[in-house]
Symmetry: C2
């Protein structure tokens, strides 16, 4: 697929996923209307829906053909979105703009920002649990869905994304010295955990074997790590017009990154190695991995 | 049971429940240690464990005999605790003390307060999902536990507790005029939803019939409503020494309460009617309802 076709394919899939997410969003009515509006506002501000896209494609790779994956796809985006809403709060990164629009607390006030994040996090579980309504297959009900839920919850929480956020906040606020192991922990959890979750949940719902899920996890770990290093690379050498934000902010904020620790060339090399390994592992699966391969390369080598 | 025996029985059960909760708390280790400490700090600051107590007793009432209820009991207390941690944040009620101890954000900083609440909310689901490991019964796995999880999630979220918090914050911050319907919505959701959840999850895990669960819901609604009105009554006529806080704060804060709307006598009458109805409904069940009856009366007619 050439670059133009790939972009069109991704754009089509984003629209398809937005259609799915839309069916799971709450109605904006009743006495909690303000937070319902804030929840939907923050979801609608979203981008390409990378995580649901990875989940759906991995589900199909292992032969999944039902719509049982759809509540999880919507739930995944809700978890990702709540984490951004709370990350933007004054007590955290204190960001007033995201993708050129006011952040949720900037638009609805700080109390509503806290509550909208809480509501989205909880609604992610309400939504994922709707997968039980999508099948009558006893193995799915009693084993695959419970396993997928456990993965989903574990990767989002204190031993996953929230753990990464915690270490990141502490590293930035306390100005702790840079440390290879701690930096890896932050990248693997703050950025990587939801990418792992997306792909592993997809595989699990399609009843992939334990070995296959482990291999999917390794692929996702590489992609998450490469994705984050590329983010840090772009902060140094990116095109401000393409990025829509000033470059060099990590250095100004004394933010610990892989690039700061290892330099630009070693970072580029690392992205390359991680991505090649992920693509090799993908090729080892029987199904059609062509879109996933191209999508992973696209994600990692993006310019914005 | 006389009052002294009842207090002893409740105290014994609180200890028993604390033992269960303890087994589900995360270890304080690794790079996210600060938030892990903050999570456990906020849980350990807790009180009588009213919600898990109601859950376990309702589970037993309908013949439940397994430990599948235990992860849900711990999860219930985690949800309740996260809601207090976030309620206490500067953007919300801005409380620095709870039960005479520094609130979580007061002890660990505001960013850690946000993250500890998020982590606890997510950990509640990680914990409740461990119920799948507690049984091999296919009906439990494929039906009762999923139903209990759906109830649990729905009552905690935007159509339950978070909805009530939202309406409450708006009513206080915007100084909206008092309105019977909105006040009922706030009480039923902010206070009532988790009490409903506790008792309905207990009944559901014990495979109570749909009619029995509906009756349990009605009982819980009455108790939640009476509990909140009693709270508001104590704010007017309570003993400051017993309460451990100054009375009259609702009036000073122009907080909309049932007492403000209906006066003290009508409020006391309402508590009495609601509680009598709840106890009558309880007596309609076959099992031993004596502890639940006394516990509900104790909760409603407490002096602190």
């Amino acid at each position: 697929m050439n670059n133009r076709d790939l972009k069109q394919e991704i754009s089509d899939r984003t629209k398809h996923i937005n259609g799915i997410i839309e069916t799971y969003l709450p109605k904006e009515e009743g006495y909690a209307q303000t937070v319902l509006e804030a929840m939907n506002y923050s979801i609608h501000a979203g981008g390409k829906r990378v995580r649901p896209m990875l989940m759906e494609e991995t589900y199909h790779l292992f032969g999944g053909k039902e719509d049982v994956v759809e509540p999880f796809m919507a739930a995944m985006e809700m978890i990702h979105t709540y984490s951004l809403v709370h990350d933007d709060l004054p007590a955290m990164d204190n960001d007033m703009l995201r993708r050129g629009k006011p952040t949720t607390h900037a638009a609805y006030g700080e109390a509503m920002g806290v509550l909208a994040g809480d509501a989205l996090l909880n609604y992610a579980y309400e939504t994922a649990l709707l997968s039980f309504e999508k099948t009558k297959d006893v193995k799915m009900l009693s084993s695959s869905i419970p396993k997928a839920l456990q993965l989903f919850a574990s990767k989002a929480g204190i031993h996953g994304m929230v753990g990464g956020q915690t270490a990141d906040v502490e590293a930035e606020k306390k100005g702790l010295s840079l440390d290879e192991e701690k930096l890896s922990y932050i990248i693997e959890n703050k950025t990587g955990a939801l990418i792992e979750s997306a792909m592993m949940v997809g595989a699990t719902l399609a009843n992939a074997t334990r070995e296959q899920v482990a291999c999917v996890q390794k692929i996702a770990q590489n992609v998450g790590f490469a994705f984050q290093i590329q983010d840090d690379i772009l902060d140094v050498v990116g095109d401000e017009a393409l990025l829509g934000k000033p470059i060099g902010s990590d250095e100004r904020n004394e933010k610990p990154t892989y690039v700061v620790l290892h330099g630009l060339e070693a970072s580029k090399e690392k992205v390359k190695t991680l991505t090649e390994e992920a693509v090799e592992l993908l090729k080892g699966f029987d199904g059609d991995t062509s879109f996933l391969e191209e999508f992973l390369m696209y994600l990692v080598y993006r310019e914005k």
